[in-house]
Symmetry: D2
Subunit: 349 residues, 4 copies
Amino acid sequence: MIVVMQTAAEKGQVEGVECRLLEMGFAPHRIQGTGRVVIGAVGEQKVVFPTGLEVLPGVERVVPISAPYKLVSREVKETGTVVEVGGLKIGGPEIVVMAGPCAVESEEQLITIARLVKAAGAQVLRGGAYKPRSSPYSFQGLELEGLKMLSRARDETGLKIVTEVLNPQEIELVAEYTDIIQIGARNMQNFSLLREAGRVKKPVMLKRGLAATLEEWLMAAEYILAEDNFEVILCERGIRTFETSTRSTLDISAIPQAKSMSHLPVIVDPCHSSGTWKLASPLSRAAIAAGADGLLIEVHHKPAEALCDGPQSLTPEKFSRLLTSIQPVAEALGRGVSIGEDLSMTGGF
Amino acid sequence: MIVVMQTAAEKGQVEGVECRLLEMGFAPHRIQGTGRVVIGAVGEQKVVFPTGLEVLPGVERVVPISAPYKLVSREVKETGTVVEVGGLKIGGPEIVVMAGPCAVESEEQLITIARLVKAAGAQVLRGGAYKPRSSPYSFQGLELEGLKMLSRARDETGLKIVTEVLNPQEIELVAEYTDIIQIGARNMQNFSLLREAGRVKKPVMLKRGLAATLEEWLMAAEYILAEDNFEVILCERGIRTFETSTRSTLDISAIPQAKSMSHLPVIVDPCHSSGTWKLASPLSRAAIAAGADGLLIEVHHKPAEALCDGPQSLTPEKFSRLLTSIQPVAEALGRGVSIGEDLSMTGGF
Amino acid sequence: MIVVMQTAAEKGQVEGVECRLLEMGFAPHRIQGTGRVVIGAVGEQKVVFPTGLEVLPGVERVVPISAPYKLVSREVKETGTVVEVGGLKIGGPEIVVMAGPCAVESEEQLITIARLVKAAGAQVLRGGAYKPRSSPYSFQGLELEGLKMLSRARDETGLKIVTEVLNPQEIELVAEYTDIIQIGARNMQNFSLLREAGRVKKPVMLKRGLAATLEEWLMAAEYILAEDNFEVILCERGIRTFETSTRSTLDISAIPQAKSMSHLPVIVDPCHSSGTWKLASPLSRAAIAAGADGLLIEVHHKPAEALCDGPQSLTPEKFSRLLTSIQPVAEALGRGVSIGEDLSMTGGF
Amino acid sequence: MIVVMQTAAEKGQVEGVECRLLEMGFAPHRIQGTGRVVIGAVGEQKVVFPTGLEVLPGVERVVPISAPYKLVSREVKETGTVVEVGGLKIGGPEIVVMAGPCAVESEEQLITIARLVKAAGAQVLRGGAYKPRSSPYSFQGLELEGLKMLSRARDETGLKIVTEVLNPQEIELVAEYTDIIQIGARNMQNFSLLREAGRVKKPVMLKRGLAATLEEWLMAAEYILAEDNFEVILCERGIRTFETSTRSTLDISAIPQAKSMSHLPVIVDPCHSSGTWKLASPLSRAAIAAGADGLLIEVHHKPAEALCDGPQSLTPEKFSRLLTSIQPVAEALGRGVSIGEDLSMTGGF
């Protein structure tokens, strides 16, 4: 790190900082500028910011040089991580498509949608059994019953399952039923939950918080890796900005940026980002074109009756068209995406 | 609510929406505008947004008319709530001052600071036993040992205690030792934690999330009230914006705004907002002038050695001066603030 | 528009609002809800917000129903506008590529770069003669000399020219030398400049302001169209958010969103958005995949010596590779992009 | 500045950077860390960012050490600037109050309001003759006629005048009629306008842009000082954030922060910040408590008929009450505020 002294700092104050750096195990290197002194601290970086140096007399600020994350860093592991889920590879050349309803509402609803998204080409079924809802009066999910339905949908269709967990206590239970554990945007800095997710030996999909910087997102992933679970998938789902015509702002730059900072695979949720199914296709294409390894798409066969997030859910027919529209883009990047039946021709949706 | 139809909506689509409103228990009132149709839905509001109407053919958007929160609303309860903590009133005419270290580090550290903030005039001791840290490699708190030290500091000084809880499982334990349970900014939408906090019969201080709108903040409080715990204190601690010269941006307007929307008391944390003790005094004065009911201040007797948040901690000497500087402002608003000894004259800090 | 009365509004207050609406030429339609009254105002929308109704006693808020822009709206003109610049079509099936240095620095620099971007496949040469710089001590552009060099580069290469204008007084002069007038992000709400740009009969490229909503951006375009200049190209160049790892956040959703709200063509500037040439390729691909009609790319043959924005400039070699990488994405969307020589093989860059 | 090399940078790349620094007139100081090399550049700071070093091979990033502004800096001039306007001191111990309508609408309207704000205690009359409106269909101001009315209002009341200028061409004309030239938030980075404002020898009030960092705001002021006009008043008027319950977010921290970074006086516009007169009083008190040197308040005797910004305008009665409510806060800070008649008792408003 670099300690920038105030222009008015006195000699004794500079020496005080150097003395403290020595105590901390660093070798201080003083640079006498024309206006002020700057001190470089050399040594294996063991500090966490703020360092305590900030409040020493004469110090203006302390500039970190190294990134605070280690295990998630591309500097530590050069090759991209491929997360394997029972044969399915996330982060490899094939684009992975996860699709399904916002919430598990009933066995019939789930199985119907599962069959349709499978037929269209999806590899993973998403569906919430525990729902984080901004209102206590909204539908909160079927909980254990929902988990069981997801499990049955897997048996029926062969799809892998991804579902969200809200509470550290419930992680083991959820892990029994699901293939991938989802940590939602609102819980991205729920450190108790992150730590538990690190202890369970299941792949974890970590959504970016609404106001999380890339660095904070990677630090949240670091919590999971630090518990020895390296099977982490990052999911960009839009950040909060001043723009109101979309629900949030898909940070498309975060895809190449996260992939250059980290070795973890990155997937994109275009439905939550925008808040409307109308943007799902162009944003999915953009995500693939920017280098995303997969997509998370909300699909409901009756969006008007969905218990949550209907406006941002695609019908199976539209979902099928979306896959058709992303395939040539994936191929343009030398990647594949598996496409099934063309549901857009079937009536009834 | 109001359903705004597209300009190109057909008669059948308008009728479809009206039909659905009837099914939902609303009386639809059609207004034929010059460019489009708008439908008012009359009835006791039972819906949660999105409503499902958004995806019906011909619908452009649905405009809510009533606020989504109920129990926290000033419309439901006109008089301001005064939260009582063993005789101490938060939300009454007296400004309440909570002060102490970011983290409990040792019994000696805590007791030293507790005596000093008590002497200066504080009524509540803050101190973290469970710390939410963005890095897994940072000091994570003394946990149960920290709770016990807080309890001893209360016995020593008579100060009330406020401390943060991170995990729904730990709420009962924390509630045994503390007078006020703090829910931090990162957990503002940790709904499992909110619900547990509603079930425990202790006052809860709910910090605003870094990217939470006022409406979302009040909805988070609604979770606690919905479990029958009405002893909630809101705490504004800065929001995330593009500005980088301060750590976050204290939303001063949120104080009068939250107090007009809700009956709950509002306190302010000027240290976390700004990230530097240098702004603590002007921001504290501003908070009081805008109508805040109290302050949450970080105080450490040796900021350069603090295990967390040193740069934003005041020395007891500076804390004493801060109190002296806010007193005339409080009085200008017809409110009081209790001031103790003038520590700014004592040497050693 | 809809006037939402307070729950406590009295009968006389409701009548007062209705009376005022009648004076304003609207037919008021009262809807008596269970909690409050809502009044729909029917009539040709002539009002501008705020309307004055907001301050009448008993009024809680006024909700606009129609968008405030007219001439730029897709509702007014269903087919997409194609802006023609001497045979070049912007907004048609072909992706248009504008490239060149941030600033015109010398005739030699400009002609060198112009030839290279032309060879690589660009159709338009960008280059600033008047530079908006955040510091008064930065290079401010060659002004008239720069315009003349741009004109000579056009003669040499046949490329069209786009260059920025900062001052309403200089528009006529700039218009003499350029094919497309650029209005920069910082001037998006410089209404004097917008009006002058509307009066000159040249295509205008309007960059989105750093903190402008889509609605404000379209309203700024409306200023130009309202002066009878319909040749407007929108340019998304990133918005300001809390994220600091990129210079700004490319709002990829703004592309399909602006194209659905408006009939104007939309191009994207991936270099300013991100602040680094490293993201130019993935963001360009994403922009095309999301439906952009063109790209604006900074190219410099010696980025380390560029007088401005070197870090976000591509070498001609990298620019050539970028074009090669977007072509298959354009084709995947059924669009073309003209590619010239492969400069990435030539040495010397 | 500090050049941070990549961990993988080679010896030759480090030498290349050092060589370039020497060419630029800096003495390079290499610090060999455990993971990477960092180079300090010593010399009189003549560079502007980006420096060109960013694109050299092996460079990760370049960290500025000194602030980019000079003349506005508190480091250059330690004592606060007091701007004098014909005897009135802005930045001295007395709080200055500027009040008046958003727009000059007619001579009668202006004189009526001028007399009332004067009676209540204001020292400066504000009123727009040239109005920056987001819609081309909104009232755009009375222009020259408006300037003449402002001038007559000054003759009638003795109030100083502040009014906005939009176009560099109009500055001389506006300067003839006004005492203080206002540059609005949307034009904060209209550099042509800033430069002209620097050339006119009149005090300039520079509003902060909606998305401007403190550094950008001070750099905009630097443009004016660089032309030898040192009579600059900064005006904080709210920044754009995600929060929607207020029109913008008053950045209260910007007051002490700007005053510590710069010697210029800072005033606050609580009406534009919040978009509602309801928050004008608490925000005015907060601004004074945080150290503001003055207030800019919208006052209209008939807000419901105001041609612009009615909802955020106070009646003279409310304005009078606002002054009464800020006086004790000003006194609590050892500052004065002149209070006139108590208009809140007069009927008719």
